[in-house]
Subunit: 404 residues, 2 copies
Amino acid sequence: MSQIRFPDALVERGEEGKKIVLFVLDGLGGLPHPESGLTELEAASTPNLDALAAKSSLGALVPVLPGITPGSGPGHLSLFGYDPTEYIVGRGALSALGVGFDLQPGDLAARLNLATLDSQGLVQDRRAGRPSDEVGRRVVEKVRAGIVPPDGIEVFLDHEKEHRAVLILRGEGLKADLSDTDPQEVGVPALPVVALDPGSEKSAGLMQNILDQIQVILQDEPVVTGVLARGFAAYEGFPSFEDRYGLRAVAIAQYPMYRGVARLAGMDVRGVPTDPSGLITLLEEYFDDYDFFFLHFKYTDSRGEDGDFDAKVRAIESVDPLIKMIQELGPEVLVVTGDHSTPATYKAHSWHSVPVLIASPWARPTGDRFGERECRLGDLGTFEGKHLMSLALAHASRLAKFGA
Amino acid sequence: MSQIRFPDALVERGEEGKKIVLFVLDGLGGLPHPESGLTELEAASTPNLDALAAKSSLGALVPVLPGITPGSGPGHLSLFGYDPTEYIVGRGALSALGVGFDLQPGDLAARLNLATLDSQGLVQDRRAGRPSDEVGRRVVEKVRAGIVPPDGIEVFLDHEKEHRAVLILRGEGLKADLSDTDPQEVGVPALPVVALDPGSEKSAGLMQNILDQIQVILQDEPVVTGVLARGFAAYEGFPSFEDRYGLRAVAIAQYPMYRGVARLAGMDVRGVPTDPSGLITLLEEYFDDYDFFFLHFKYTDSRGEDGDFDAKVRAIESVDPLIKMIQELGPEVLVVTGDHSTPATYKAHSWHSVPVLIASPWARPTGDRFGERECRLGDLGTFEGKHLMSLALAHASRLAKFGA
């Protein structure tokens, strides 16, 4: 792998105290409005971001690789410097993180569909008619109460949303090379859990045991009479931010998914900001205790997925005043970017590059606006997201010279 | 290798029907004219390409790697998404493709020089005084008629051009780790075929047998009294476009080399366009039958190699009207680029980046001219050719989200 190896690349611990703030506006990148020809960020009034851009190195960040649209997991791992094509997080594990479950190395996670099966066990509705969260939570609670864990195994079950839940097994030697039980069609029975390699046979048996128990527990339910399992994933554990970069890192994020991805990288997670200013309150509270601060703002992505161009513009404008407050804390490096684009016209995550700025005493400024067009012409050019951490560390004087 | 794996990266076959047209203007990229300071493409009057550029994502495509000048094989494999540093096509195999030979996996190909050897078998002229194509064809025909294939082996021989011919052996277990017989100097005998690894010894014997037969057949010729073999290559077979991208792909190209490289990627090859408008006639004819269309236009490269700046400008202008016709067929994605640069001032393939545009509903436009300077400042930045297919698939909504 032609990557500079961390932590070899770090300076000796002499530069401690030089702090890095990474402010992620989820789904920041956009596409031009059909009338104005301006993107959401270009259309937004952002005096503080623009003033910062004028003092920053600008660039266009490709989250994973050209043309590749990342989910939230890979998008953030890339920003954290973990090549998302090497550090893979399975669907089940991401679901567990998404509900705020404290995933441990060795855990085996699966995504469950609450489903409707008939008395013969044939699948009638793979999503049980998309039950309300109330129904979903009640059913999951009933299963949790009734299930008997096999010897030496801990079983965790959490409701995600509507028909989705997540199942986690914790124990020795669990493996995830298991086939889904979701047949992906109706009128047929759920598939058995099959071990896709010999090492996974024990896990297959345990998982089947649990799923059989759930079937019995749900048999008298009116609608949710069974579950279908897919996306089995064993969580391996990644090298921590501290080990990799020598940074004491903290995440300040409202939503479980992002708190979870930060935990994957070994970050502490502190507080639950409920509005933009809450991010700053928590940043101030913990500023002396850490070297690296990951701040996550969700609504740029949400409004983009809604397809509401103006609301995404307003979401961007709502965080602009925070920039000044972050600067007043005096971090050595302030990075502002997104984990991917979510253009309001596209109504989904996309592959398009994301504007990025790196403010530090060592910036090479090229423009005075923070937007797709200005950033694309910036000093950093177009680069893969996995390199962002190297740039941030360099601007914080935390990277050693490579070679003599 | 931290690359996205195909076909895992594809969406489920739901987006079929969204068509991609890749229009390759061979050797498109150029260098500034000493007087005007404009490249061939910048100097050309291209109203249709410029109008398309204004609605497209623009970029600068590096065919292989910075500073690397590709041949036609690697240049096109890169555009097709096959990393040309991994998918190697030997010289002999390319020659076979170049003469339109239907190369099969397992075939062993070699490039032959028609040469003049004296009665002692010493090389007098490695190119037999560059015989006319007439002489070359006659001699090759004579050899073809006289040769006796060894048991279980098929032997194919084709004249390429002047002193060049190509020899293909077809049979079980042929290997290509063989040394050239061309001594690269005169006054010495041709070298024997030597197996460079034990597995190639059988092939070495078969090849030497054929070459000895050719020597005898040509002994009474006035000029072409022998052959020298080099560039032994076994063709392995590549994953097909259909398997890799789920695309039914067709190539519309006039010249054997490009038809051959398309066959390497498992594309169908249809028709033989004899002028620019012929490309469109064939595109229209097959438009309903395929998802992906590779259109190849040769003369931008030919005029560049001639060193005729104005003629290359005219070649570019001759295809500009075709753009409108392609758009009228309504492909979801239209990509226009080249497989490499062939600057008229350089009179050869070069390593310089190539302008590229991707027109789709999801483009992020940045300029209203299709030229080196505008493209260099485009939203796609400067990227390696091997990523072009990911971008084209993404713009056609054919790539799934990576991770959750």
